[in-house]
Symmetry: C2
Subunit: 403 residues, 2 copies
C-alpha cells in the first residue's frame, strides 16, 4: 500500500451482539498505521459500497468507537444481498473509484464468497486491493474456525434464557418448548444444555437440524420425561426437518389442519405453537407452552460473553495486520489452543476454504435428543465470565400431621 | 402470638424475577423476633398447604437465602389453583393442625382473595391467625399499589429486548413485531417504549389490551411508519382484543383460514405470526418478523431491576412487621412518595380492596398507539441502575464520485 492508504470496512448478514467489536478492531488497528489516509465504512454492507454510501470513520473518536463496540447490531447497518459476479464488479468499481486499497468485510460464509469474488476482480484488473474477510455468525457454522464471533454471546443468552425457563418450569410444572434460531446448524440450540446444573434440570430434550426430527419419537421423549420428572423443558431449532428434509413447521401445519375438527386448536406458522398443539392433542397434557425467542437472541443489549467481545475485537485487528503488515488476502479464522486452559489464536486462511461453505455439528457433540460432555467442554469457556447461577432452598421437609 | 410462634409462607401464581426477595424478606425478618419457633414454607403455594407439603426454613442459612433471593422464579414452587371457600377451609385446617399463627402469601390479586377467605375462616373458628398478602405480579395490575414487585424487572427485560430489536431493525430494516405478556393490562408492553432514546427509535407502535385493536387501523399505522422510517418496530400485548372483546389471535385465525388459498400462508395460534402474515398479505412488505418472548420475560436470569429487588424484599419484611409487631391482617401495598426523587413507602391495606380486583392502564398513560410522557416518568425510576445504553457512529458522509 502506498502513502495515504484508504481502507473500507463493512458488515454483512445477520447482526450479532459483538459485530461492532470487529468494526472497532478494524478501524482502531488501521489508524495505528502511519500511512493511513482514510478509513471508510459502508452503510448496509455491499449495498452501501455499490451505492457509494460511505461514512468517514477516519476521525471517529476512539471513545465513541469503544461505546459503539459495546452496542449490539451492525452500527454500519447490514444487508441480506448475496452478490453474484456482476454485483461484485459493481463493488469493485466503487472501491477503485475511491482509490480504496484495503477491503474488510465482517460477515458469514456468503460474505466470504463476496470477498473472494471481489479479490478475483481486482487481480484480473491488476488493481492492488487487499481483501480480508472477518468471521461473524451466531450460527457458528463457518468452516475452519473453532467457533465464530457472535455465537458465544448468543449462546450465553440462550443459556440464561433456559436457566430461567427451567426455574419457571420447576415452579409451575408442565411442558415448555423454547424455539432457538438455527436453520441448518444446531450449535445455538445445543447451547441451551449448558443451562443445566442439577441432574433434573432442563432442557431435558434438545432437537437440532443435524438430526432427523420424528414427531412420534418426539412425543415418546416428552412422555418419558414427564413420567420421570413431572415436567419437561425442550430446546428445539427453528430448522428441524423430517427424513425428507422438509421443515417440521410446514409438515405439522398440514397434519393438524387436515385433522382439524371443531375442538382441535389449529397450529400455524409458529413451530412452537404447533409442537405444543401436537403434545396437547396426542399426549393430553394441559399445561403446554412454547415461545420463539427470535431476534432477541442476537440483539439483546446487556447479555454478552466477554470472551466473545475480545475475540471479535481481535479478529478485526488481526485482519488489518494481515492486510497492512503482511500484505495478504484471506479470511481470519479463530482456533483453539490445545494445551493449558482455553485460549484463542488467529490465522489467515484461504477465502475459498470458508466461502459459501457451511459446517454443522459433528456427531461427537450429539447423543440422542441431547448433547455430549464433549460439547459442554467445547462451549463452556466461550460463555465468558460471571454467568449467573441459580440457587435452591435446602430440603428440610416437615412431618405431616395425620387427620 | 404466643411464644414459639410458627409462621407459614408460600408463593402463588406466575413467578417473577424477584419473588424470592419477598420470600427472603419474610423469613429473615420473622427470624429476628425472639418468640419465633418455626418458619415453614409450603411447596407449590396453597396446594402445598392443603397437602401439608412443608419445608422447614427455620434454620435455612441466611447466606443461602440471599443467593436464592437473587434467583428468579418461586423457590418454593407455585400453583395456578384458585381456591374457593371449600379449598380455603382445607387450607385453614392444615394451618391449624400445625399450630401456625402467621400466614404470608406472596402472589397476585387471586392470592389476596385466598388470604381474605382464609382469614375469615380463622375468625369464624376463633383461631388466632395473622394473615398477610404480599404483592407480586409482572402485569402490574393490582389495585391500590403504585406498582407491584416483579413488574419493574420484567419491564427492564422488555426494554433491553426492544433496544436490541430496534438496533437489529435499523441494521436490517423491515417490520418487526414483539409480542409481550399481558392479558388484560398493557403495562409490560407499554414498557417497551422506554427502549427509545432517539426520535426515530422503535418501538414505533404500541398496542395494549386497554385499547380496542382494529386490524385496518393497525395496518394503516404500520404503513405510515414504514413510509416515514423505512422500517417499523411494533410492541403488542398477547391479550389485544377487538371491539367485541374477542382476542385478536382467534379473530385473525378465522379470517386468514377462510381466505386461505394455495399461496397464502396460514396464521395459527401465534399472534406474532398472524399479525406478520396480515402485514405481508395486505401491505406487501416482504421482510416481516414476529417473536413471542414469552416466559423469558419473567424468568430470565441476569436482567433484574435493583429497585425491584429492594422493594420485593421490603414488601416481605413489612408484611412480617405488620403481622408480628402490629398484630394486623391485610395486604402490603407499595406507594410512591410525592416529593423529591423517587422513593417507595409501604402501607397495609384491606384485603378486600385488592382481592380479586384488576387494575388496567389509566388513560393518561396512553396516546394513540403509543405511551405518554406521564407513563415514561412513571416507569423510568423503577427500571433500576445501569440500564445499558446504545451508541451510534457519528454521521460523516463521504462525497460520491460520479461515473
Amino acid at each position: 500500500m502506498s502513502d495515504s492508504t484508504k481502507i473500507l470496512v463493512a458488515q454483512g448478514g445477520g447482526p450479532t451482539a459483538v459485530i461492532n467489536q470487529s468494526l472497532a478492531g478494524v478501524v482502531l488497528e488501521a489508524r495505528k498505521f502511519p500511512n493511513i489516509g482514510a478509513v471508510y465504512g459502508a452503510y448496509h454492507g455491499v449495498r452501501g459500497i455499490v451505492d457509494q454510501n460511505f461514512a468517514d470513520l477516519t476521525r471517529e473518536s476512539a471513545e465513541n468507537l469503544e461505546r459503539v463496540a459495546q452496542t449490539p447490531s451492525s452500527a454500519l447497518g447490514s444487508t441480506r444481498d448475496k452478490p453474484d459476479a456482476k454485483y461484485c464488479q459493481e463493488i469493485f468499481k466503487s472501491v477503485r473509484a475511491h482509490g480504496i486499497t484495503g477491503f474488510f468485510y465482517i460477515g458469514g460464509n456468503d460474505s466470504a464468497d463476496t470477498v473472494r469474488i471481489v479479490s478475483q476482480a481486482a487481480q484480473e484488473a491488476n488493481y492492488p486491493l487487499r481483501c480480508i474477510h472477518i468471521p461473524k455468525t451466531i450460527d457458528n457454522d463457518l468452516t475452519i474456525n473453532d467457533h465464530t464471533p457472535g455465537f458465544p454471546s448468543a449462546a450465553r443468552f440462550v443459556v440464561q434464557a433456559f436457566m430461567g425457563a427451567n426455574l419457571d418450569n420447576i415452579s409451575l410444572p408442565g411442558v415448555y418448548i423454547g424455539v432457538v434460531m438455527g436453520r441448518h446448524a444446531g450449535f445455538l440450540t445445543a447451547a441451551a444444555a449448558l443451562a443445566r446444573s442439577d441432574a433434573s434440570d432442563g432442557p431435558h430434550l434438545v432437537y437440532v437440524p443435524e438430526q432427523v426430527f420424528d414427531t412420534d419419537a418426539f412425543l415418546g421423549d416428552v412422555k418419558r420425561v414427564m413420567e420421570k420428572h413431572g415436567r419437561c423443558v425442550v430446546a428445539v431449532s427453528e430448522g428441524i426437518a423430517d427424513a425428507k428434509h422438509q421443515a417440521i413447521a410446514t409438515t405439522l401445519a398440514k397434519t393438524v389442519e387436515k385433522d382439524a375438527h371443531g375442538n382441535v386448536q389449529l397450529g400455524g406458522g409458529a413451530l412452537a405453537d404447533m409442537l405444543g398443539d401436537t403434545i396437547k392433542d396426542r399426549l393430553g397434557y394441559k399445561r403446554v407452552r412454547g415461545d420463539t425467542f427470535g431476534y432477541v437472541q442476537r440483539s439483546f443489549i446487556g447479555c454478552v460473553s466477554d470472551v466473545d467481545q475480545r475475540e471479535a475485537r481481535a479478529a478485526g485487528e488481526q485482519g488489518v495486520r494481515y492486510a497492512m503488515q503482511e500484505k495478504r488476502d484471506g479470511t481470519v479464522t479463530i482456533h483453539r489452543t490445545e494445551s493449558g486452559g482455553y485460549a484463542a489464536r488467529y490465522e489467515l486462511s484461504a477465502l475459498e476454504d470458508v466461502a459459501g461453505k457451511t459446517r454443522i455439528m459433528p456427531p461427537e457433540f450429539l447423543q440422542g435428543p441431547d448433547v455430549t460432555d464433549a460439547f459442554r467442554q467445547y462451549l463452556k469457556p466461550l460463555l465468558g465470565s460471571n454467568v449467573p447461577q441459580a440457587y435452591r432452598l435446602g430440603r428440610n421437609p416437615v412431618a405431616k400431621i395425620p387427620g
